[in-house]
């Protein structure tokens, strides 16, 4: 193979060797300065004690909190994930759950609740449409909602969950013996 461009440019003198090094030194300096600007803030603690924004916060605030939580279900404090884990822990695996308030274009923003709880409650049958054939359109669900817990009960569901008009998740209503949470 013939000598490459890089080699043909190799200079025999020290001064040209230094001039060849200058671009590398420049690039190294630029990357180094930017890297330092990125690293430095990560070693400071946030002023707000509840905030976890830097690496130091993660080590000094988040890690001890996680290590102290003996129950994995409660590890993240509060939130939908904890609620999902609690429901998953409490309900029998074959319980059928009806999730009301999801159908319709106007209720597209509520989808997040269903997506989250569908994951935590799998493999249970979690329906949002009485015919079990809800179709996901662009950001919303098409289907037949149950108007009352009684209607869901008649269709064989064991637990009723509802997103209210305030977009908040209501407490589950137990529709059958199977839906009774275990302690």
């Amino acid at each position: 193979m013939p000598p490459t461009v890089q080699q043909s440019e190799a200079s025999p003198t020290k001064s040209t060797s230094l001039s060849k090094q200058l671009p590398v030194i420049l690039v190294t300096l630029i990357i180094g300065i930017i890297a330092a600007c990125l690293v430095w803030p990560q070693f400071n603690e946030s002023t707000n004690p509840n905030e976890v924004t830097t690496l130091t916060d993660l080590e000094k605030r988040q890690l001890p909190r996680m290590l102290a939580a003996t129950d994995p279900i409660q590890r993240e404090g509060t939130g939908l994930a904890v609620y999902g884990r609690q429901l998953d822990h409490a309900l029998p695996k074959d319980a059928r759950v009806f999730f009301s308030g999801m159908i319709g274009k106007d209720h597209g923003s509520r989808g997040g609740y269903y997506f989250f709880l569908r994951n935590y409650l799998f493999p249970r049958d979690v329906e949002i449409s009485l015919d079990g054939k809800a179709i996901y359109r662009e950001g919303w669900f098409d289907g037949i909602d149950a108007t009352s817990p009684l209607e869901a009960q008649t269709n064989g569901f064991d637990v009723w969950l509802k997103i209210g008009d305030d977009n908040n998740l209501s407490q589950p209503i137990i529709l059958s013996q199977k839906g009774v949470p275990k302690q």
């Binding site: 590398v24 990125l38 690496l55 994995p72 569908r118 449409s129």
Partner: protein, 516 residues
């Protein structure tokens, strides 16, 4: 205890993958690439092979996650046992010199690994998308197989979960569940953590920092690890870090392959491309783009007759078979999967939306959200509503000043690195083409066509995680041109330099061969 077992699964899969990649690429792989790069390549190949076996067996009605995970662990341990004498000998060969003090620059990176390494088995699922799609699909794969799995895939109310997406990531999580014998969301983050570690080792190995320590590759690794997006996504589940890993590995290998006409790097890149295609939709586009470039390159170099090349393509194609079978099962589609249909239905609107989408998607990566803030009054035209807040306006929330740095580095490298011009030109060309195709796909979506406000919102809040892997890959590919080139970091005496015909192969050959 079970978290510890899960924690060693990715490196075990990497050691097993090292053997597989050696079987495919041959003995030359060890001669050309250092341990770090082989480890990262092993992780790519190991993840690809084991995940696709999980998918294939699940489709066949078998839950083989436990068996496969234990196979990976045992295989990995055996490989470490077999490699340890070589490793010890290699370590003894390293002559410590004052330049090794540059390695102290890695201390912040080691600290971040210490923190993230501990957190990855303690934190639950953080990312919304991961909860709704990635982790959910892993749970489905672990709990349902065969006809039951196909029945779940057909449920119309699961259309939101992107059931048709490539399954590498859910399969990796399912592999962990098999190992710990149950669904456990506290073991998912182990994979992105190890992928970032492996990518850093690959960079350091490519630059041969143990033999020729230089601050440039070390600072590159520090930069990569402390990029705001890296700090955020290493804690998140989902496809972002896997995309960073596969796409960046491809960039590193392809730049090396093109600049030094290195067949081993090219074939290794093809194996990694199969991982890209099995990870996300963007990865499929990236694979097609690089595949086309590689084909042209091989044709120009006369490598199309190479048995090694075709053997590698065959292996990569076989790794795609499980996903192909999965798609034959016709999983329920997400409405966004109909982008092509939406585009064909109203091509005029899609084409009108395209330049806006391209501009918003790429522009959002260069500036802060306060500055690059847009609104619409008529759902069709965009108006600037931002404000200049000093130099901070040039700092992006996720990428910091990486996009600006890339512009400078690309121009500077094209000027100074004559040997790498073709490789860097192709790399940047592929990435710009990727951005353009992604923007076109987004502009075809019905909701984007209907209201440009959707495009504005999408480009500022969602697109960042789609583009971050490509900015990272571009950065690492360009940096590779600087630190793979031995002469640029440590100029050799002219006589020695004149003897070198192919720096990469000579650089990466063991000492005994060099003497010969």
């Amino acid at each position: 205890m079970k978290e510890w077992l899960a924690f060693i699964l990715p490196p075990a899969a990497a050691f097993a993958g090292m053997r597989i990649s050696r079987l495919v690429l041959g003995q030359k792989l060890e001669e050309r690439f250092g341990l770090g790069l082989r480890f990262a390549l092993g992780l790519a190949v190991g993840m690809l092979v084991f995940s696709q076996l999980v998918l294939l067996t699940a489709l066949a009605g078998i839950n083989a996650t436990g068996l496969l995970a234990w196979t990976a662990i045992i295989w990995g341990v055996m490989e470490v046992g077999l490699m340890s004498p070589k490793l010890a000998a290699g370590f003894r060969q390293i002559k410590f010199q004052p330049a090794h003090l540059w390695l102290l620059l890695l201390l912040p990176v080691l600290y971040s690994w210490w923190v993230f390494g501990r957190l990855c088995t303690l934190e639950g699922t953080i990312e919304f998308d991961a909860n709704a799609f990635w982790v959910f699909k892993a749970k489905i794969l672990y709990l349902e197989q065969g006809k039951n799995l196909v029945a779940v895939l057909h449920q119309s109310n699961l259309g939101y979960a992107h059931m048709d997406y490539p399954m590498l990531v859910p399969c990796l999580y399912a592999l962990d569940y098999g190992l710990v014998n149950g669904v456990d969301e506290y073991v998912n983050k182990i994979w992105p953590f190890w992928m970032m570690v492996a990518l850093c080792l690959a960079i350091l190995s490519l630059a041969r920092v143990w033999k020729r320590p230089h601050p440039l590759p070390l600072l590159t690794v520090v930069f990569l690890c402390f990029l705001p997006a890296s700090l955020q996504f290493i804690r998140n589940e989902g496809g972002t870090i896997p995309m960073v890993f596969f796409i960046s590995m491809t960039a590193l290998l392809m730049v090396t392959a093109i600049a030094y006409a290195d067949e081993i790097a090219l074939t290794a890149g093809i194996l990694v491309l199969a991982g890209c295609a099995n990870t996300k939709f963007e990865g499929i586009i990236y694979t097609v783009l690089w595949g086309s470039v590689a084909l042209l390159f091989c044709w120009r170099r006369g490598w199309l007759k190479s048995r090694l090349l075709w053997k590698t393509i065959l292996v990569a194609a076989i790794c795609m078979v499980p996903y192909f079978c999965f798609r034959l099962a016709k999983p329920v589609l997400h409405p966004e999967s109909g982008w092509m249909h939406d585009g064909i239905t109203s091509p005029g609107t899609a084409l009108r939306r395209f330049p806006q989408t391209w501009f918003l998607n790429i522009g959002s990566r260069f500036f802060s959200q306060d500055f690059f803030h847009w609104q619409t009054a008529d759902k069709d035209h965009v108006q600037w509503a931002g404000q200049w807040s000093g130099w901070n306006s040039l700092v992006n929330r996720e990428l910091s000043i990486l996009p600006w740095l890339l512009l400078f580095l690309f121009a500077f490298s094209i000027w100074r690195k004559k040997r790498h011009r073709l490789a860097l030109g192709i790399l940047v060309g592929v990435i710009v083409a990727q951005f353009t195709i992604l923007s076109f796909v987004i502009s075809c979506l019905a909701n984007m066509q209907a209201d440009v406000a959707q495009v504005i919102d999408f480009s500022s809040n969602v697109v960042g995680r789609y583009y971050y892997p490509f900015f990272t890959a571009g950065f690492l590919g360009i940096m590779a041109a600087w630190f793979v080139d031995r002469d640029s970091l440590n100029p050799s005496p002219p006589v020695e330099a004149a003897k070198v015909s192919n720096p990469i192969s000579t650089v990466l050959q063991p000492r005994s061969k060099k003497r010969r």
